[in-house]
């Protein structure tokens, strides 16, 4: 097969990624929009209701990002403005030092911790509800990105430190798109251009060796390996969502831990936006003797985050009685099965913001030109949004149960029942939470 015939047989996705204008053609407009958003957050109206940056960040971008991960894997990471900034800094002043060992070893734990702290800080400092607070958060991230880009090689920030990268890594495991090398072609390769890079494109920015890559978790679909591979070994194709979850050869405890942390975070986000939250706060205030929100929320937060983690440990303990493996191993193996339910709960929560406040994006955009529109920001009525939320939770539950079943299958289904029970309980709790009326952001 000559090169021309081979190219014709390539998928549309592969041809797109192999194009010389990709990903720059998307990176540039995304970076410009991001720059404007951060400008609006820092210098625009102080009232979130009127701030275009708030609407773009918390009503559009944050709600649709999990959807992007499930459809396109970590493609967002390839075009993310922070990554573009890191590349630029690296190009001009980058020292390209190797990544410190502690980051390689504990990067995922740093991501887990930063996710928890950001969620906590959002509630006590009101980051989402304040354009200035949102700007500060983004600027803290910019400082981290500049630091990593200036001192370390490739995209150290994206791979080892970005909290969204951790989330996207987990979610994209359940995604519908994958990039893989063809082992038969790679067997005779002596250049390893996909990792090292060549004159066609740089090496993998995420420190992956596509030749041996078996997971989507760290592939940002930047297309560099498609361009640099001299043998056309890389293929980009669609796949059944969640398929990867039961074929992970080395389940990592920290990855599974992040899955349950996200579940706890969605739980906290949901519960604090419900009308019942006021009653719960009052009870807690009476118990603790203080109305200080820092104290009451921190206590609630620790409890709300701790319950799902301890519940999964307990489930894994029950499961390990049958599988005879360590509790941690069981936790790591089955923790990944929660990802579809994580995604569903996260999407269902964000769907409320997108559909109940979606018009705010247009209203605040018009506000930039001095036109003030006072009207309901809802795109759909509450009943329709709730129906969509229940559907998502059901799909997530089915996906998680099937993933747990497939994970248990090699061991003849042993230890499956406790995890199925846990998934069912989490899904039911989410259904109840989404049934209750929720507060809006704008």
């Amino acid at each position: 097969m000559n090169n021309n015939t081979a190219r014709k047989n390539d998928s549309f996705l592969k041809r797109l990624m192999g194009h010389k204008l990709y990903p720059g053609i998307i990176q540039v407009p995304v970076a410009l929009i991001f720059a404007f958003v951060i400008w609006e957050l820092a210098f625009g109206p102080a009232d979130p209701h009127d701030n275009f940056g708030t609407a773009m960040t918390w009503v559009l971008w944050w709600p649709i990002i999990p959807l992007l991960f499930i459809i396109l894997g970590r493609l967002w990471c390839g075009i993310c403005p922070f990554a573009t900034l890191s590349d630029l800094i690296q190009k001009f002043v980058g020292l390209n030092n190797p990544v410190p060992q502690f980051l390689k070893k504990y990067g995922m734990w740093i991501i887990d911790a930063s996710f928890i702290i950001i969620t906590w800080a959002d509630h006590v400092f009101g980051i989402v509800g304040s354009p200035r607070g949102s700007a500060v958060l983004l600027m803290i991230i910019v400082v981290g990105v500049v630091l990593a880009g200036a001192f370390f090689e490739r995209r150290t920030w994206c791979r080892y430190l970005c909290f969204l990268g951790g989330l996207s890594g987990n979610y994209s495991r359940a995604g519908a798109m994958e990039l893989r090398a063809t082992p038969e072609i790679c067997a005779s390769c002596k250049t390893a251009s996909c990792y090292k890079g060549n004159e066609q494109a740089p090496g993998c920015p995420m420190f992956e060796f596509p030749r041996t890559m078996e997971t989507n978790a760290n592939c940002n679909l930047c297309g560099y390996c498609v361009k640099s591979c001299p043998n056309g070994s890389i293929s980009v194709k669609t796949r059944i969502p969640t398929e990867e979850l039961w074929s992970i050869k080395k389940p990592r405890f920290e990855g599974a831990f992040l899955a349950i942390v996200i579940l706890g975070i969605v739980f906290v986000q949901n519960i604090t936006m419900l009308d019942i939250w006021q009653g719960m706060l009052e009870t807690l205030e009476n118990l603790t003797g203080t109305t200080n929100y820092f104290v009451t929320f921190t206590i609630t937060f620790i409890i709300a985050m701790g319950i799902p983690i301890l519940a999964l440990f307990f489930t894994s303990f029950l499961s390990h009685l049958r599988t005879k493996e360590g509790v941690i191993n069981n936790f790591a193996r089955f923790g990944y099965a929660l990802i579809p339910l994580d995604l569903a709960a996260h999407l269902a929560h964000n769907l409320f913001h997108l559909l109940a406040e979606g018009k705010a994006i247009f209203y605040t955009f018009m506000g930039l030109f001095g036109t003030r529109i006072e009207s309901s920001p809802a795109l759909l009525d509450t009943a329709t949004i709730q129906a969509l939320q229940y559907t998502l939770i059901f799909l997530g539950m089915a996906g998680s149960m099937y993933a747990a079943y497939r994970i248990a299958k090699p061991k003849e289904g042993k230890g499956l029942v406790p995890h199925i029970g846990f998934i069912l309980i989490v899904a039911l709790i989410n259904v109840v939470l989404f049934y209750l009326p929720m507060a809006t952001r704008m």
């Binding site: 700007a135 090689e153 820092f294």
Partner: protein, 197 residues
């Protein structure tokens, strides 16, 4: 899996780290119950509230506003009581007007200083609230009217602009990092050593 994780050690490290991280701001910011009122239960929970109290005849009027109010929409709350009991089902009107004695404001905002009048809604027994949009910074007079009573509260509205100290601080840190990296790279390249692949 290559390496077994020590469960005890793992839980201890995590719990300790979280407690330490969360305890710093909690300890620094904790205040006793009577000095502070609570937030609103959504993502703007951290707003601190300020209270002013006036007496008009038999009525005690508590006026509760955010401690820091900036230009734009702000939620105001009024609690009306008589003989230590909330007074329910009143028609309470609030009007907001720029303070005409504040000359700097009149110069800044020209003819914009028309009074905004709104009827407050009763949220709980004796608690009335309303959202008012303040179109300029400076001193504002808020007049609360119910039955035949009228009382004026004053609030100071801050400019809704950016905190230049914070923005400047971040820019300074970013520039410093770039500068340090640039100098180190220059030294490295002039010394003939490179880490690049």
């Amino acid at each position: 899996m290559k390496k077994r994780i020590n469960l005890k050690k793992f839980i201890c490290v995590w719990v300790l780290t979280l407690i330490m991280l969360l305890a710093i701001p909690v300890g620094a910011l904790a205040t006793p119950k009577e000095n502070e009122s609570q937030g609103h239960g959504d993502e703007q929970n951290a707003i601190k509230m300020e209270e002013q109290t006036q007496t008009k005849g038999d009525y005690v009027i508590q006026f509760i506003v955010p401690e820091e109010m900036t230009e734009g929409e702000n939620e105001l709350k009024v609690i009306i009581g008589q003989d230590n009991k909330p007074v329910e089902s009143l028609i309470v009107k609030i009007s907001a007007e720029m303070d005409k004695t504040d000359t700097s404001m009149s110069m800044k905002h020209g003819n914009e200083e028309k009074a905004i009048v709104q009827t407050m809604s009763e949220d709980k027994s004796g608690e009335y609230s309303s959202k008012i949009e303040f179109k300029g910074d400076g001193q504002w007079n808020l007049t609360v009217e119910f039955l035949d009573e009228k009382t004026v509260f004053q609030v100071h509205i801050l400019k809704g602009g950016p905190n230049w100290f914070v923005v400047g601080g971040f820019l300074g840190v970013i520039l410093m990092i770039i500068l340090v990296a640039g100098v180190l790279r220059y030294r490295r390249s002039s010394g003939g050593v490179s880490n690049e692949q």
